[in-house]
Amino acid sequence: MSGHSTYQPKTGIERWLDARLPIVRLMHDSAVSYPVPRNLNYLWTFGGILMFMLVAQIVTGIILVMHYTPHASMAFNSVEHIMRDVNYGWLLRYLHSNGASMFFVAVYIHIFRGLYYGSYKAPREVLWILGVVIFLLMMATAFMGYVLPWGQMSFWGATVITNLFSALPVIGETIVTFLWGGYSVDNPTLNRFFSLHYLLPFMIFGVVILHVWALHHVGQNNPTGVEVKNVAKDTVPFTPYATIKDLFGMVCFIFVFAYFVFYQPNFMGHADNYIPANPAATPAHIVPEWYFLPFYAILRAIPDKLGGVLAMGAAIVVLAFLPWIDTSKIKSMTYRPIARQFFWAFLVVCIALGYLGAMPAEGGYVIASQIFTVLYFGYFVALALIGIFERPRPLPASIADSVLENIKSGSGARLGAATASEPNAKG
């Protein structure tokens, strides 16, 4: 899809620069003339939204660091200093903490969009794997960021999660000591988490560049899953079509983001994290942030510690192998009548696991977690099997054909209605 560049340097300076460093050409080719399928729906705006969230997190984070003190005895109060005494510090801090949650809202929509429309299939395997890598880096970054306010949930969350590594045979204990910088979660742990929390977002940024590069090389998938055959008929230029659409989608997303920041800033946090960290008092329930809950439920579903850690790891890593697990050649679930039902079931399973992850690990909750853990992995087994016998619905011959079909059927009626009211509409 990268294809021939249509960039025409107009001024002398542009020609001079283009012959030496074709950076304007690069920007033109990737953000102006880049062809996007004309049938993308609003789920495709979440890539742009995620890019915005990453930049927003980095910008607010850099300013927060100017006022934050990474020390076990001062971190909690320095966050409160930001909330009270720094000009608009409360806004920066709430933007950053809610921004992390909204980042995950967007990434989960982005991932499920990829799952539904088969965006992981050839030729997008590397693009997909890079996405899984970004997801893992995001989880590490978010986890370490949550430790920095050094409240009770920061401290005990860090203790529980770092302790998981001790389940690994032979090297486990060494890894944990290394993560802690000592023999318990303490000031050295806070210091190294702070350092890594500053580093990882830039690593995410690097992988995002690779992710976008791979995307622009193979081109975007689309709701039909049929590849672009004729650039002129099947695509529209990124600017103005995708630019304006993404911008509208982004502002709608920011509306939801702002609603939480200004009206429910602590909804997605834990009250316990407003109690300063106390190694001598364990909170009644140690619960991670909501975006980790499905994986936390899988971890606790397995009675064996090492088994739980491996199951949790496998639940994420299995995504990277999805391009080869799914045996169907058809990308979009729209044309896969059986697999589509399993997709929606999988979504329900993930939400149920998220709910169970917030519940205490006892009685019926554990049994339910075990059932849903089996169903979670069952989805991947199902995708491997369904592709063998499923009879897909007929695919449109091209993206342009599917768009024309839509005009004829569904939106055709709307077209007629609009035409009828035309005299009023036209001024």
Binding site: M83, F248, C252, A352
Partner: protein
């Protein structure tokens, strides 16, 4: 549809089973109070914050610290609305330890507006020694550090109703919730008190408030403007603690409304611009 329906059914079954279990246990949900600062247009009631501060100063502060609050905060916008001279006069009534001076000695001086609200005990050990082994928590962010489980589906509704006053509701209920233990309850040990709303019901703080304990401002008829009762004290203290925990709440909600209005208008403009741009394509030409 079979796998989908089955999973939906299983998911709903989990929620249904879990829902009641969530609220079970020995925690009784505190009643929801009405607060002037709730909702998108919420603002603090200055008179209430001033009364709440009076209760804190005369009652709570004898055991609880409030380390993050400085006297000057009491006169900043969006707070109890004391004047700068009132704050200076109040600060002067406290003796603050300062130093070392040029002779290398610590000394005491009258408080200034910039000083932090002095803690009743020099350290945690001293607080425990004086409080029967229990540590009275710092009050500064207490209203955000206390909550109760809302459970499914209430926590979903809370997004839209903007209910987030679990902390003050709980603190109010706790301050009013001292009773005799029910018949058959194990006898209380010295330093243990029974409270309806405390998780586990046993609390180390004796009932701190009694009717008529704190004198409230009088109206022109010589009677207190609000009742001098435990119920009223509890509410006023809780409101004050919400302000100490979230001193910029009013600015947050005010700016929030401006931001939301801007975003709605901006999104509307973008929507019609998008429609206009895309109407060049035949499949989107319906509106033109």
């Amino acid at each position: 549809m079979i796998p989908f329906r089955l999973t939906i059914a299983a998911g709903l079954a989990v929620m249904a089973l879990a829902g009641p279990a969530f609220g079970a246990g020995d925690r009784i949900k505190p009643p929801a109070e009405t607060w002037s600062f709730s909702g998108p247009f919420g603002r603090f009631d200055q008179a209430q914050l001033q009364r709440g501060f009076k209760v804190v100063k005369e009652v709570c502060a004898s055991c609880h610290s409030m380390n993050l609050i400085r006297f000057r905060n009491l006169s900043q916008p969006g707070g109890p609305g004391f004047t700068a001279s009132q704050v200076a006069a109040l600060a002067q009534t406290y003796q603050i330890k300062d130093g070392p001076n040029d002779a290398g000695e610590m000394f005491e001086r009258p408080g200034r507006a910039a000083d932090a609200f002095p803690a009743p005990f020099p350290n945690e050990q001293a607080a425990r020694a004086a409080s029967g082994g229990a540590f009275p928590p710092d009050l500064s962010v207490l209203a955000k550090a206390r909550t109760y489980e809302r459970g499914f589906p209430w926590f979903v509704f809370d997004i839209f109703t903007q209910y987030q006053e679990q902390g003050p509701d709980y603190i109010t209920a706790l301050l009013r919730g001292y009773t005799e233990p029910p018949a058959g309850h194990a006898p209380l040990l010295p330093g243990q008190y029974f409270n309806t709303y405390m998780p586990g019901h046993l609390i180390a703080m004796p009932q701190p408030l009694n009717d008529g304990q704190v004198e409230y401002p009088k109206g022109p008829d010589g009677k207190p403007q609000v009742p001098e009762t435990v119920a009223q004290y509890a509410k006023d203290v809780s409101a004050f603690l919400v302000w100490t925990a979230e001193p910029h709440l009013e600015a947050r909600k005010r700016i929030g409304m401006q931001v939301m209005l801007f975003l709605i208008i901006f999104a509307g403009l973008l929507y019609y611009t998008k429609k206009k741009v895309w109407s060049r394509l035949p499949e989107h030409a319906s509106s033109h």
